[in-house]
């Protein structure tokens, strides 16, 4: 058992009393405090005005020594145009800005949830819009793209995952973290639309812990990295974060411990993920994770807080559907760093005071899971 798992076990034992219930009186050791801070966030530990807008990560571009850029767009959640066009407008804006990058990006990664309800009309609309991007494009699916026809249309239009390619000394990997839901629909005799509806509801009950890498893909990842130098950079794209942030909304993959084990020998690994629709940054072991913005709408931060290394984004204005959303331009610099620049469509991206923070907003809030979808 590695240190991280030991800490989790220790934490779990201390937080639960002899009857297995959580105990508020559990002793908090320094190690446990640090651990909790990493996984759950600590209200008093988040700093303001400390981190720059651009996250600079120490990743060596060993092969070429030349910088290059790539762009990320995800979570467009397109509806058919006769339902609404607000998400189309924001997708178009992001696409135009990616296309206008100067110097241009080497490629665009689309990080999933192109569609809202997996409708082929929505996926086709997304494909048409993305034609405006003329650089190389790669894709990974989101759950909203998948559960109407179990990925058939997505795979046909955008290709299957996982995949990998090497580019200027970096191994890029695209994972499928969405197709592993347990079958809740067959026994309930659900139609594909009903299944999709449940999977498209972030706080739904029936979907359960659907986000996963899965044993088959873990083996593929292990094999795919086997010939890669242990100190060479690896960038993993996934729809869901590859750590445990907030399981009830699948802000994780359920097998994140196994993912960590596969990645453990590699010293420069960065996970770039969607799904959470918010500014996020975390480090677990040697794995750095950066959460991307959606173009559609921002999710609230998890009720239990954010990773302590995250400087929260600013509270978005609910009256402006262009607020709190955007895309990301990422640069691998000649100096050997990866820089992530959130292209949020407002001047201030990160909160500089508690009153403007998306996490402070939840200070007195204690929430409960929903009740009406437990069928």
């Amino acid at each position: 058992m590695n240190d991280r798992n030991s800490l989790r076990l220790e934490t779990g034992q201390r937080r639960r009393g002899p009857d297995g219930q959580r105990s508020g009186a559990a002793t908090m050791t320094r190690r446990i405090f640090l651990h909790n801070s990493l996984f759950l966030g600590a209200a008093g530990a988040v700093t303001y005005g400390f981190f720059p807008l651009i996250n600079t990560l120490d990743i060596a571009v060993a092969a070429t020594g030349k910088s290059f850029k790539f762009a990320w767009i995800s979570d467009t959640h397109l509806y058919p145009k006769d339902v609404n066009t607000r998400f189309v407008e924001k997708t178009v804006r992001a696409i135009k800005e990616v296309q206008a990058m100067n110097p241009p990006a080497d490629f665009l990664i689309f990080g999933g949830d192109l569609a809202q309800l997996g409708d082929p009309v929505e996926l086709q609309l997304g494909a048409e819009l993305l034609k405006e991007v003329t650089i190389k494009k790669v894709y990974i699916p989101g759950e909203h793209d998948w559960y109407l026809d179990m990925g058939a249309t997505w795979n046909k239009m955008f290709g299957e995952s996982p995949w990998s390619f090497d580019h200027k000394g970096v191994r890029f990997v695209g994972l499928d973290t969405v197709s592993g839901a347990e079958d809740f629909w067959t026994s309930r005799k659900m139609t594909p639309k009903e299944r999709m509806g449940h999977m498209a509801t972030l706080d739904g009950t029936l979907g359960g812990a659907w986000a996963a890498v899965g044993a088959k893909q873990l083996k593929w990842l292990n094999d795919k990295l086997a010939d890669w130098p242990k100190d060479a950079p690896v960038v993993l794209f996934s729809h869901n974060p590859l750590y445990e942030y907030y399981p009830p909304w699948n802000f994780w993959v359920r097998d994140w411990r196994e993912v960590q084990e596969v990645l453990k020998p590699y010293t420069d690994v960065t996970n770039i993920h969607g799904h959470t629709h918010q500014v996020l940054y975390n480090e677990i072991g040697k794995l750095r994770s950066i959460g991307m913005l959606a173009t559609s709408w921002p999710w609230p931060y998890a009720p239990e807080g954010v990773p302590v290394l995250t400087q929260p984004m600013i509270r978005a204005d609910p009256g402006d559907h262009f607020d709190g959303v955007g895309w990301s331009a990422l640069t691998l610099t000649a100096a050997g760093n990866v820089e992530n620049e959130y292209r949020m469509w407002r001047n201030e991206v990160l909160a500089t005071a508690p009153v403007d923070s998306g996490t402070e907003d939840n200070r007195n809030q204690v929430l409960s899971p929903r009740v009406a979808d437990r069928i």
């Binding site: 509801t201 609230p300 939840n362 809030q365 204690v366 409960s368 899971p369 929903r370 009740v371």
Partner: protein, 138 residues
């Protein structure tokens, strides 16, 4: 309906407080409340059948309340009434619910004392029932 029947049978005793409450009464009170919570949950998640039953149209964009507020996060019922920036006025939770229906959702404003509003309010309060009361907080 069963809960309402129990209530109607026992209603005189319940309101008169002339006798100890029975388990059946307490269960009926709870059932009345949870029926409203469940209706509010369905409305909050965009259920067309519940909208039709209650005669409301909460969204014309395909969006539902829960899409921005999973588990009712960020609705903050414990902070109302308060000055609400978006409306530039001192507002109640019901004012805010109607603002969200009209603005982000582009739906049709609902009767502030109607059944749909009571159900939405019940669901939001129930979901936040362990939050700390903090009226006026921005």
């Amino acid at each position: 309906m069963a809960a309402l029947l129990v209530l109607s049978v026992d209603i005189e005793l319940a309101f008169a407080h002339k006798a100890p409450h029975t388990k059946e009464q307490m269960a009926a009170f709870e059932q009345v409340f949870m029926d409203q919570v469940k209706a509010g949950d369905l409305l909050f998640h965009g259920d067309p059948a519940t909208e039709k039953r209650l005669g409301v149209k909460l969204s014309n964009t395909g969006m539902a309340c829960a899409m921005c507020h999973p588990y009712t996060s960020d609705t903050h019922p414990q902070e109302f009434p308060k000055y609400q920036e978006q409306m530039a006025k001192f507002a109640t939770l019901r004012d805010m619910i109607n603002w969200c229906i009209e603005k982000p959702n582009e739906g049709e404003k609902i009767d502030p004392d109607g059944e749909a509003m009571k159900a939405l309010e019940a669901y939001i309060y129930w979901s936040n029932r362990n939050s700390k009361l903090d009226p006026g907080r921005h």
